[in-house]
Symmetry: C2
Subunit: 328 residues, 2 copies
């Protein structure tokens, strides 16, 4: 069939609350720098009360990737659960504003729209505390079969494995996509997330994932190895294609023919690494859905990731289509 969408993203629909903090704050709250920690409503409120003035901006890992792809000119769709509250309307506005189709109904009751406290330290690293809120109400009923079938790639975030009912939604989406002959892509999201769901993730990667995204810590955690080359060889056996991001060093791209390294680009002014992995996936998937070689896909991923870390927040704040015309 002809595909209406290049990529469908499925993930936790979250509004980020961003602030600069010092390292002492992370220590005093027992937060592991660079990680994403799940918190309940009371814990989120307790940390928020200790923070200075924040700014709010739509987030969510897969949603950030889809927003980046939409800004690059890709045809995109998104599935995720917000409540019918103010932050839910902010999230919906922002993803619609970039031209993404987002038809998942808002929950009329239950927990509020999810939010994530994004704590950015002076080294530009981000540490996140996520209250999943309405995300726990994403179920198989929200997986629109027509949308999954009409998307070349179904892109899932590993974080979606945290809210229990979303797992079934996740599995349903994979089955529909594969039955339609489409590709399934997964981002491993976070090393602790991989740790929480290690066996299931390994099974998923081996049986359900065509294109895997991970950073070095995540892929090492998945294959329980300290050797990145070993991990790359493993993932080459398990998936058609993979990209391992290596921070400033760029990325390792893997398909059935090759394992290659794509050099990172120098970033003038590093502000906030939030969304670096998400926007890497935007660039990579944009290349892939436009017939580029895997090396070119990796270079596009590096380029777009290098843009998002020059400003606060995980969404593009410029027209990425123009940006790649000027920089590619």
């Amino acid at each position: 069939m002809a595909h209406k969408y290049d990529v469908l993203g499925i993930g936790n629909a979250i509004v980020d609350i961003l602030i600069h903090v010092d390292d002492e704050f992370l220590k005093s709250e027992n937060l592991v720098k660079g990680s994403m920690q799940l918190v309940n409503e009371q814990e989120a409120a307790a940390i928020y009360a200790k923070l200075g003035q924040c700014i709010e901006c739509s987030g969510g890992s897969a949603a950030n990737t889809i927003a980046g792809l939409a800004s690059l000119g890709g045809d995109t769709s998104y599935i995720g659960k917000v409540r019918d509250d103010q932050l839910g309307r902010v999230f919906r506005h922002d993803i619609n504003a970039l031209g993404t189709s987002f038809k998942t109904s808002s929950a009329a009751e239950g927990p509020a729209t999810a939010h994530c406290l994004v704590l950015v330290t002076p080294d530009a690293e981000r540490t996140m505390c996520t209250y999943l809120g309405a995300c726990v109400n994403l179920t198989t009923a929200d997986i629109d079969e027509d949308v999954v079938r009409s998307s070349k790639i179904c892109y899932l975030e590993g974080y979606l494995w945290d809210p229990e009912p979303a797992k079934e939604a996740f599995r349903k989406a994979i089955k529909i996509a594969h039955d339609a002959g489409n590709k399934v892509s997964l981002s491993l999201s976070d090393p602790f997330c991989v740790g929480r769901h290690h066996e299931e993730f390994l099974h998923l990667v081996r049986d359900g994932v065509d294109i895997l995204f991970a950073n070095e810590d995540e892929i090492k955690m998945l294959y329980k190895t300290d050797n990145i080359n070993e991990a790359a060889l493993q993932v080459q056996k398990d998936c058609d294609m993979a990209a391992i991001t290596c921070g400033a060093a760029g990325c390792i791209v893997i398909n059935q023919d090759e394992i290659g390294h794509v050099q990172g680009r120098r970033v003038e002014k590093l502000v906030d690494t939030t969304g670096a992995g998400d926007l890497f996936a935007s660039g990579f998937l944009y290349g892939l859905t436009n017939g580029k070689s895997i090396g070119e896909c990796g270079a596009l991923g590096n380029l777009i990731a290098g843009e998002v870390i020059t400003h606060l927040g995980a969404r593009p704040d410029i027209d990425l289509k123009k940006f790649i015309e000027q920089n590619a």
Copy 2:
């Protein structure tokens, strides 16, 4: 009596929704560049639906001034009305986070917390569409007599004249402040706001205001003159003290002894003028409550206004106390 607070701000409690737009967008929406236009809920939603991805940040003119003063180390208090909704909690968190006392109860019913669509054009000018929401429910009952009495200066924004019940609250605060021997300060807010309430504002300035803040357009509108020197002479007759901001040229400071000009400071990177007037008032009032000369107050106003226009949003995003130690 001993004063607990240096400055109490009273104003419309608003969350800003910020975005960069081009000049064509303002034209297509019939918006006058640089102005603040009041819109109803439907009009706000219609404009919002046409905007790209935004960021959210607490705003409100007097609240911005108070946030700046708090960041400078001043003892501050704020009165304004939000609803008990998500944006209301964001506003309350952000003003509390800077150490400001904010005891006004949230409305449990009625319109949502106010929001302002802040449209920033490539020339860094901002054009605003404000939905007043819960601000229309600020009444005399919200004016805490003890707080007004215990504040050296009661600072009011002209915008507060827009929601009808707030006028009486405004008048009540002035009476309490003056009866306690405290000073009353007013910001004229916007030339169109001055136009809407011209007679009342003129009466207010003559009878109720000790310290007036205005920009050139506002003061000319108030005194119906095209001559800024004429306007300065008029305000010298009407108020103890005044400051007229003149954009990049700095400000004119006025008291009963002198009318002087304080040169503006060169700003390296002009991004967004939102909050320039509000943060000028922060710097000026910080000087005034710390025994500085009027020329020094004007210079502090210029310095702080020059900081806020280097980034998106009207709240300080650095510690202003450190900033003035490094730059004053």
